[in-house]
């Protein structure tokens, strides 16, 4: 009998995994998105086509990739090519979804993974865009997966690395980004969010079990739009927890 008490991270991964569309092409970033993709592939999206930026496409995700170029990203895959090929595939409209992480997110879904504080004299230097900016620019729809607190959900990101809706409606197109692209959801440790179709601002969609609207508001550094009705996200199933702990992250890198 598996221990049904679960962590916030485990719950976040499960909620994110359920968003993967079976049969779609998905660009998978480093970290939590990899766990969510693996869980999806083992449950609701067995025909998922994972794409990793350094060239791995269509891998069977049997073991957790710890880096976006290691052999697990093309294990029993369709192709093992190079970064230009995968990025060009995204740029010409072949990648349906992009799953991303970041250190900060703002109401328009813009992400920061470059610096905290001023770029020239940063308080903290972060790893950098990596493929994040490319994924946010070229994939049809992007989903961000983040820890939820007021330091991460900020009114304005310190450095706009990965484009969400930029400054609001029409801004992506005005900047030259491909039409019809943009963020569709944010999965956090507290809730699932989407974006208001007219204002492009982040909106609460569903609460994780045991979480209140007030908790989400307190942990969000900007005004989060409220839907007419707040949904409740399903807790992790026994199967999901079992897969996460025994097959996906048995070394406990993340969970």
């Amino acid at each position: 009998m598996i221990d049904q008490t679960y962590s916030k991270t485990e719950l976040m991964i499960c909620v994110a995994a359920r968003l993967f569309e079976d049969g779609a092409t998905c660009f998978i970033g480093t970290g939590i998105p990899m766990l969510a993709a693996m869980l999806a592939a083992k449950t609701t999206a067995p025909n998922l086509v994972p794409v990793f930026e350094f060239g791995g496409t269509g891998a069977i995700l049997e073991e957790l990739p710890r880096a976006v170029g290691e052999a697990r990203t093309f294990h029993k895959g369709i192709s093992a090519l190079g970064i230009c090929d995968t990025m060009e595939t995204a740029q010409r409209g072949f990648i349906d979804y992009g799953f991303l992480g970041g250190a900060q997110i703002d109401p328009f879904g813009n992400l920061n993974s470059v610096t905290i504080g001023d770029h020239e004299h940063p308080k903290a230097r972060l790893p950098g865009s990596g493929g994040g900016n490319d994924v946010g620019s070229h994939c049809w729809q992007t989903i961000a997966i983040m820890q939820h607190d007021a330091r991460r959900f900020v009114p304005k990101v310190d450095f706009l690395t990965t484009p969400g809706f930029l400054s609001g409606p029409g801004a992506r197109e005005a900047a030259g980004l491909p039409p019809g692209t943009g963020p569709i959801a944010v999965v956090s440790t507290l809730a699932l969010m989407d974006f208001h179709p007219a204002s492009c601002r982040m909106r609460l969609k569903g609460l994780h079990p045991g979480i209140t609207v007030e908790e989400v508001i307190v942990n969000t550094g900007f005004e989060l739009l409220m839907p007419e009705q707040v949904a409740m996200n399903e807790p992790p199933s026994e199967e999901e927890l079992h897969l996460l702990r025994t097959e996906i992250d048995p070394m406990r890198f993340y969970i």
């Binding site: 976006v68 052999a71 090519l81 490319d134 491909p178």
Partner: protein, 325 residues
């Protein structure tokens, strides 16, 4: 073409395409000459202070780690670096030998933000960080590989990435859409680790090719390290496997386990404890120094390094390799 927006950062490696053509005409031999040499010889011959240098693929995957350590060992400094990496570039940053960065991603993947990077940038030791996305830096090398001064892209647009880069935004004269122009990147020196090469530098890789094709064609000097040195007959038997032809290559170094503690597809897996050792020790300046002392300065060369690691751990890494089944 009207420039609508320009990144505010400098081009830390200015270039001249005609000069690059001349270089390739005069300075790169078409003769089949034996280029096999040691790490010491290759690095001392082709890497110099203040040069613009890059590594492929990255610190835990098919990475020229033995060459990377040799660069530190020889005290090369003030390097301008093409920054896509994990362990290798964090070692350089912690060793204090990096002056400027075209940075895309320097991180420890599952282990997060690297301490070497943080200290080197936050202290101002690295004078300049110019931002590029992963695709952008690869396409910059692709432009150089194509022999053209720039490539247009729809990456970077509308973000601070464009602002803190050296890219420019223009309106495409054919269709009227906005595009970011990425300047070509011609490296002074590139370090690439491959599965197999012959003595002349014809190279084969297995698994993903990362950005080896682009980087090998976008540099003035190319140092190859290879797990195995193969006879040229083997190259000629499978010409379709050659990803880097010999005339691009200046030095060939035989480096078994050259990517350790990172992995090499189908040959050995990564040594998690070996990677974690850097993650932990690099958290303090003293720890990072102790690591460099142990694994770089107190061993003379890659052979001694492998002896220090020991047969048992290398065999373990082989056991963890990706298998074709």
């Amino acid at each position: 073409m009207e420039v609508l927006e320009s990144g505010i950062k400098e081009l830390i490696q200015p270039f001249d395409m005609d000069e690059f053509r001349e270089w390739n005409r005069i300075r790169k031999s078409r003769k089949l000459v034996d280029k096999l040499m040691t790490e010491q010889e290759a690095i001392s011959k082709f890497v110099y202070d203040d040069c613009y240098i890059g590594t492929e693929l990255y610190g835990t995957v098919r990475c020229p780690m033995s060459l990377t350590r040799e660069v530190i060992r020889q005290g090369k400094k003030d390097l301008r670096v093409c920054g896509q990496g994990v362990l290798e570039l964090d070692l350089w940053l912690a060793a204090g030998i990096v002056k400027k960065l075209d940075i895309t991603y320097i991180g420890l993947e599952v282990y997060g933000v690297p301490s070497g990077l943080r200290r080197a940038v936050e202290s101002g030791q690295v004078e300049s960080c110019v931002e590029w996305s992963n695709a952008s830096i690869s396409w910059r090398m692709k432009a150089a590989a194509m022999g053209v001064p720039f490539l247009p892209t729809r990456s970077m647009l509308g973000t601070d990435m464009l602002k803190y880069s050296a890219a420019k935004v223009v309106v495409d004269p054919f269709t009227g859409i906005k595009v970011a122009l990425l300047p070509a990147l011609i490296l002074d020196v590139a370090l690439i680790h491959v599965h197999r090469a012959d003595r002349y530098g014809n190279c084969q890789v297995e698994g993903i090719s990362g950005f080896a094709l682009e980087m090998s064609r976008a540099c003035k000097r190319l140092i190859i390290s290879a797990e195995e040195i193969i006879p040229t007959e083997e190259v000629r038997k499978y010409p379709d496997r050659t990803v880097i032809p010999y005339f691009l290559v200046d030095a060939v170094v035989h480096a078994p386990f050259g990517s350790y503690p990172g992995e090499m597809a189908y040959l050995y897996g990564r040594d998690e404890d070996g990677i974690k050792e850097w993650v932990e020790m690099s958290k303090t300046i003293e720890g990072a120094r102790a690591y460099l002392d142990k694994y770089v300065f107190s061993v003379k060369n890659h052979d001694e390094y492998l002896k220090l690691i020991g047969e048992e751990r290398l065999q373990q890494a082989i056991g963890l390799r990706e298998r074709r089944e």
